[in-house]
């Protein structure tokens, strides 16, 4: 392979530098010239994701009590702490593992766009189902914030959700909120800012319950992947997708896109900037 020197975490050199992949984002249809950070908004259908999006951007996208409302991807912008943020509302999905179009859109954006922060909005009253998606997102990216939405509903159902314990277990910041009433939005803005600027560093939860056979297979592939793409942040996830025969990932490997992602992680921010087209 190539002889790129393995430099230890770029974050150490520049805490506040954007981590997003401008070239890939442009290919995905997002122009990042007019913003400092890119935030992806993911979540299950009908968790109030669009409401959060509207609350952040002031846009009025219709949000109905229907699973699966956002079919196309919406985009908005806001400023916080003298930084300009672009926020992309991804289609609501239950999972990123099946092969529906919605899931592919969401998955590709998080994997190849490498957003600075991925906010996963979850329904506090249905945490288990929602964590299914969160755990998948955390296998792809380690720059995530959990928006624990619909806390008012949870209170109404007399559910107590321990957000601190959840944050500790998941290894990412958790923001309790009720987006419909505007509660928690300022906290969310601040937390996203902290993760984007590197003030908060996540240490996300990784899957633990795989059967022995799967674990062995993943470990074996990860060793191979790390040898070819040192520093690829989501080698485990890539291994799992390859074991599922996911053609998009196979293509990305054959075309060298994965190599690009790994390379970016290993370069100095200055060199990284030079790689990206102006």
């Amino acid at each position: 392979m190539n002889s790129v020197p393995v430099i230890q975490p770029a974050a150490a050199a520049c805490e506040a530098c954007p981590a997003h992949n401008a070239a890939n984002l442009l290919r995905l249809g997002v122009n990042v010239n007019d913003c400092d950070y890119v935030v992806a908004l993911a979540g299950n259908p009908n968790t109030g994701k669009s409401t959060v999006f509207n609350a952040l951007t002031g846009l009025r996208q219709h949000t109905g009590n229907w699973p699966g409302k956002t079919v196309t991807r919406a985009e908005g912008a806001y400023s916080y702490g003298q930084k300009r943020y672009k926020i992309v509302d991804l289609p609501g999905t239950y999972s990123l593992l099946s092969t529906t179009l919605d899931e592919e859109v969401a998955r590709d954006f998080i994997l190849f766009g490498q957003p600075d922060v991925t906010v996963v909005v979850v329904d506090a009253t249905r945490l288990e189902r929602n964590l299914n998606l969160v755990l998948q997102v955390l296998e792809i990216t380690d720059r995530a914030v959990l928006g624990l939405n619909l806390m008012d509903e949870a209170r109404r159902h007399k559910l107590q959700v321990d957000d601190r314990r959840l944050a500790r277990d998941l290894g990412i910041p958790v923001v309790p909120m009720s987006a419909r009433r505007g509660e928690g939005i300022p906290d969310l803005l601040r937390t996203v800012h902290e993760v984007a600027t590197g003030a908060t560093v996540c240490n996300p939860h990784r899957l633990q319950s795989e059967p022995a056979g799967l674990k062995r297979a993943v470990a074996q592939l990860v060793a191979q992947i790390n040898a070819v793409y040192p520093g690829l942040p989501n080698a485990r996830w890539v291994a799992m997708r390859l074991l599922d025969g996911d053609q998009r990932i196979i293509d990305a490997m054959q075309r060298g896109e994965l190599g690009d992602l790994a390379l970016r992680q290993n370069l100095e921010p200055a060199a990284q900037a030079a790689l990206e087209p102006a």
Partner: protein
């Protein structure tokens, strides 16, 4: 590991070997592992109430709205209320807008252009054609949509609509469709284009196509006025005095019900013929009830649905208005183009129990069903050479009274058969161009757009033809 650096191809080959040698389904193991972790994390973070709640609002409402005795009556009551509010509520603003755009602004524009000495041709094309056509669409379309969509959206935000799909799924399943089609159909009663967009909630490809193709059989807001007018003038008068209103209302409801039956029949046929073998699954989540936010709902549903649909309709009505005016005013060898076309279409129209005027009106009014009636009236007056009726050649108008209408139709040679077949044809014909455009945008398929456009038209021809032949047979015998 060997000293040679592995490559991407080595990794892929390795993955392939692992997949093969494991002999188990990694996908399912992974899904299982993720949910196991999720369940463990949830158990650690969430404390549930020790005893079940004494009063669980959601469960109580669900038991009521899906109960065997109250489920269906509640649904009908809700639907009837929405329609009642829409129809009654739309009358006043509709008349106001019509008075403003057609009664006040139109004459003002005419006076203005006369004062400026604008040539007859440009004045007619722009003001009598394009302006009047789109003013008509706005006046007829806007008020009901501004009432219907917000009401519908409120029910949606509350979470009631998925329960309707739940209640009705059995009927739709039998015809190869999805319960959520009940809602896209109801949306189609407001506007077919909006109904087609609403099919996005159906996540099974086959059922979604069925819902898109059959949405046109939901009698839309632009077609209700046609039905009501024809029923009043032709069918209401057959009833004993005092009963006319009820009888004509029943006739209109009958046509709408016929539309529902045809929706089921065509869904059944589609799912067993052209769409046989397309992948099909069912999933329906019943979300928790949430208090709707009334003002925001009204605001967004007007922006989201009404304005977008109205804008598209006006964009199509502008050229249509121009065409209608031109057809009435450009003369070729002594007769206007419209009259030539009417004469040409008349034989075919008579075979179908209609006439040339109606066929031409439906061709010219493809952009919006709202302008069918004004166009029919204008063309009838034109071809019957009636003086003193309407506002001149190529200028759409509405009748002042039912008596004037009856007189006009009599002059045009209309019979009861013409009226009945017009009501049928109004239900069964190609969708308006806004809807066709929307179908194409949603399906991204020229093939399915063509099917959706031509199937109802073909059905309309067949039904009106059969009715006309039977009618004449009975009348002759």
């Amino acid at each position: 590991m060997s000293t040679v650096m592995p490559t991407a191809e080595d990794i892929l080959a390795g993955a392939e070997t692992l997949r093969w040698s494991a002999g188990v389904n990694f996908h399912e193991q992974l899904v299982e592992a993720i949910y196991t972790d999720a369940a463990r994390l949830t158990d650690r973070a969430v404390t549930r109430p020790d005893s079940p709640l004494r009063f669980d609002f959601d469960r109580t409402v669900d038991k009521l709205v899906t109960s065997r005795w109250f489920g269906f009556p509640l649904m009908l009551l809700m639907l009837a209320t929405v329609f009642y509010i829409t129809i009654v509520g739309a009358n006043v603003p509709s008349a106001l807008i019509s008075d403003l755009l057609i009664g006040i602004i139109h004459p003002l524009l005419k006076q203005g252009s006369a004062a400026l000495g604008v040539p007859f041709f440009i004045d007619g094309l722009l003001i009598d054609g394009m302006y009047l056509g789109s003013a008509w669409v706005v006046a007829v379309m806007l008020p009901p949509m501004m009432i219907f969509f917000p009401l519908f959206t409120l029910l949606e935000d509350f979470g009631y609509l998925p329960r309707v799909a739940f209640n009705l799924d059995a009927i739709f399943r039998k015809s190869g469709a999805h319960g959520k089609q009940a809602l896209t159909m109801a949306m189609g009663w407001g506007c077919n284009a909006a109904g087609v967009v609403a099919t996005r909630i159906i996540d099974s490809p086959r059922e979604r196509l069925i819902a898109i193709i059959t949405n046109n059989f939901a009698l839309c807001n632009g077609r209700w006025p046609t039905q009501i007018m024809i029923a009043t003038v032709f069918i209401g008068v057959l009833a004993p005095p005092g009963w006319g209103g009820l009888v004509s209302a029943l006739a209109v409801v009958g046509v709408a019900v016929l539309g529902i039956l045809i929706t089921f029949a065509s869904s059944f046929l589609l799912s067993r013929t052209v769409l046989k073998g397309e992948v099909s699954t069912f999933s329906l989540e019943l979300p928790p009830y949430r208090p709707p936010r009334i003002w925001q709902t009204i605001y967004t549903s007007i922006i989201d649905r009404t304005i977008i649909v109205l804008w598209r309709a006006v964009m199509w009505a502008l050229p249509a208005g121009a065409l209608i005016w031109l057809a009435g005013n450009v003369n070729v060898s002594g007769l206007s183009i419209a009259e030539h076309l009417i004469q040409f279409l008349n034989p075919a129209g008579l075979v179908l129990g209609l006439n040339g005027v109606i066929l031409l009106a439906y061709i010219l009014a493809i952009p919006a069903n709202e302008i069918v009636i004004p166009t029919v009236l204008m063309l009838t007056a034109l071809s019957a050479k009636m003086a003193g009726v309407g506002a001149g050649a190529g200028v759409m108008f509405d009748a002042e009274s039912d008596a004037q209408l009856a007189q006009l139709f009599a002059a045009g040679g209309w019979t009861l058969l013409t009226a009945v077949n017009l009501m049928l044809f109004s239900l069964l014909h190609n969708p308006c161009s806004t809807t066709i455009h929307t179908i194409y945008k949603e399906t991204r398929s020229a093939k399915w757009t063509t099917v959706a456009a031509l199937m109802p038209l073909l059905l309309g021809f067949v039904v009106t033809f059969v009715v006309a032949q039977l009618w004449r047979l009975v009348a002759a015998g």
